[in-house]
């Protein structure tokens, strides 16, 4: 009888018994892997730890971030921490944000056959194919909106049969939309003026003058939520 506290998984084809209920990333470290690359924030935000796996008895390949997905019995996995997908070089301020700009820099989006494989590979549950379709018709605002939660893990681009670099396309669209499609919030100018006027200089000067131990004590005693609540009030 197998130990219920341990789970057998297969990392790149080799069997390991790892503690039940840990994340893929923790399991790999438990098995002896040491991450130089392919690990970042460990909180599901940075997109560095893209991982592909198949569960026992499943024909379908699944996708996750190693720091977020729990190991399951019989899981076969490998990390895909990087996608070789060159990003187009452009000067944002010099671009004409018309309906053809994305096609011009990423012409392969016209190869989309709407197979939806990209959407199924997204660990963020983004409607990737829908935003590529919006990109095709030059709808920058829609691309920006649909792709907002993208963390650039690149799994979509790795799976695409049309060789589209979805996440780069989306990033370009969000940048263009930010520059030309969305209003500049008034409070941003106010905050910049506040900073320029030196409103925070005293505090930062005080912090930079502290020695290591004093800084550490201040860090441990910080009250992020409470302070920000008070500031809002």
């Amino acid at each position: 009888m197998a130990d219920p506290k341990m789970t057998r998984i297969y990392i790149m084809g080799k069997a390991y018994d790892v503690p039940t209920g840990v994340t893929i990333m923790d399991a790999m470290e438990y098995a002896g892997y040491r991450f130089i690359r392919g690990a970042g924030c460990r909180s599901g935000f940075c997109g560095a730890c893209g991982t592909v796996y198949r569960k026992a008895g499943e024909y379908r390949l699944e996708f996750a971030l190693a720091c977020q997905e729990m190991v399951q019995p019989g899981m076969q996995l490998a990390q895909l921490p990087f996608t070789p997908a060159p990003r187009a070089a452009y000067a944002l301020g010099e671009l004409n944000p018309d309906e053809n700009v994305l096609l011009q820099y990423y012409p392969e989006i016209a190869r989309c056959v709407a197979c939806n494989t990209c959407t199924k590979s997204c660990p963020q549950d983004i409607e990737v194919m829908d935003y590529i379709q919006a990109a095709l018709r030059g709808d920058l605002a829609r691309v920006a909106e649909l792709s907002f939660d993208c963390i650039q893990c690149g799994l979509c681009a790795m799976r695409c049969p049309a060789d589209i670099k979805h996440y780069h396309v989306a990033q370009m669209a969000r940048r263009l939309h930010g520059v030309s499609g969305s209003p500049i919030p008034a409070h941003l100018a106010a905050r910049r003026a506040e900073i320029d006027s030196g409103a925070y200089d005293r505090e930062i000067d005080e912090l930079t003058a502290l020695d290591h131990d004093a800084l550490r004590a201040r860090y441990a005693a910080r009250q992020i939520e409470k302070d920000s609540e008070e500031e809002r009030l």
């Binding site: 989309c112 056959v113 939806n116 829908d130 379709q133 018709r137 030059g138």
Partner: protein
């Protein structure tokens, strides 16, 4: 409940915006407002002729699934190219069970397509559901003095099982135009090809093809050409600009058929293409002088 689900297609959101705008205006005025299909994607552009190339039918099938999800029994296309692709894929998978099963299996976790959504072109809706009488009744500013050649090109007529009308002697477009007061000009090139995508890397070819269409329309006495396809519109207009001095084709006004209908329904001229608005203004001046 009298809602018609329509498929705009990519071009109508880019270069052919006034095709969509005028169609929406016309249908609103006729009391049959068009409702844009939710979450549509590119139709696939060209129907794949390779029998086992089901991958290239996915795009169209997915749109038909969106219509099915919306509870619509049919999808109405405005762009002739989209109409052709959606219509042919729809027919293929509704009659070829094996192909449909394969496509549904590929999409696995997504909703299956049941093969039951019909595809029609707006011209068919105008003819079969609205009728020419209602079109005529809505024409507050009839297009007297316009001699219009209806240009169908390939995709509204071929292959014949998706033809919107008799593929050899189509009249549906000019019937619509005549209903709103213009004179229809029959011409022998109504179903000839404009050169299509050859414009991308063999522009000389598409210009030559389009020139022949324009020349034939001009010789038949037309001063206006009505189109239903953004690519045809583009190619004909390019040929008109490039070879305008030949055979008087430069004087032709080339517009979407919906723009002519909208003009007849009295849409504000600033919403129409400049060339058409100018024609309407000139006509109004001439009529003023007669009185």
């Amino acid at each position: 409940m009298n809602q018609t689900r329509y498929f705009p297609g990519c071009s109508l959101k880019e270069t052919a915006r006034s095709f969509e705008m005028s169609a929406l205006y016309v249908m609103e005025r006729l009391g049959r407002p068009l409702v844009e299909l939710d979450r549509w994607n590119c139709c696939g552009t060209v129907f794949s002729l390779t029998a086992d190339d089901l991958m290239h039918h996915l795009a169209s099938v997915r749109n038909l699934i969106r219509a099915q999800e919306a509870g619509a029994h049919e999808l109405v296309a405005l762009c002739a190219m989209c109409y052709n692709t959606l219509g042919r894929v729809g027919r293929r998978v509704s009659t070829d069970r094996e192909a449909l099963d394969k496509i549904n299996a590929f999409m696995n976790s997504e909703a299956d397509y049941d093969g039951r959504v019909g595809v029609r072109h707006l011209l068919q809706v105008l003819r079969d559901d609205v009728g020419w009488d209602r079109l005529a009744a809505a024409a507050e500013c009839p297009l007297d003095g316009f001699a219009v050649a209806g240009y169908y090109g390939c995709t509204l007529l071929r292959p014949k099982d998706v033809a919107v009308d008799d593929p050899e002697r189509p009249t549906v477009m000019t019937d619509a135009i005549e209903a709103v007061g213009a004179t229809a000009v029959p011409f022998p090139f109504a179903g000839e090809c404009c050169g299509s995508y050859q414009t991308v890397d063999r522009r000389d070819l598409s210009t030559e093809r389009s020139y022949r269409v324009l020349r034939a329309a001009r010789r038949a006495g037309a001063d206006t050409i009505a189109t239903a396809c953004p690519l045809c519109q583009h190619n004909l207009e390019e040929a008109r600009r490039e070879l305008g001095e030949r055979d008087g084709i430069g004087s032709l006004t080339i517009v979407y058929f919906t723009e002519l209908l909208a003009a007849a329904f009295g849409i504000a001229p600033e919403r129409l293409p400049e060339a058409l608005a100018a024609r309407l203004a000139a006509r109004a001046t001439a009529q003023g002088e007669e009185r």
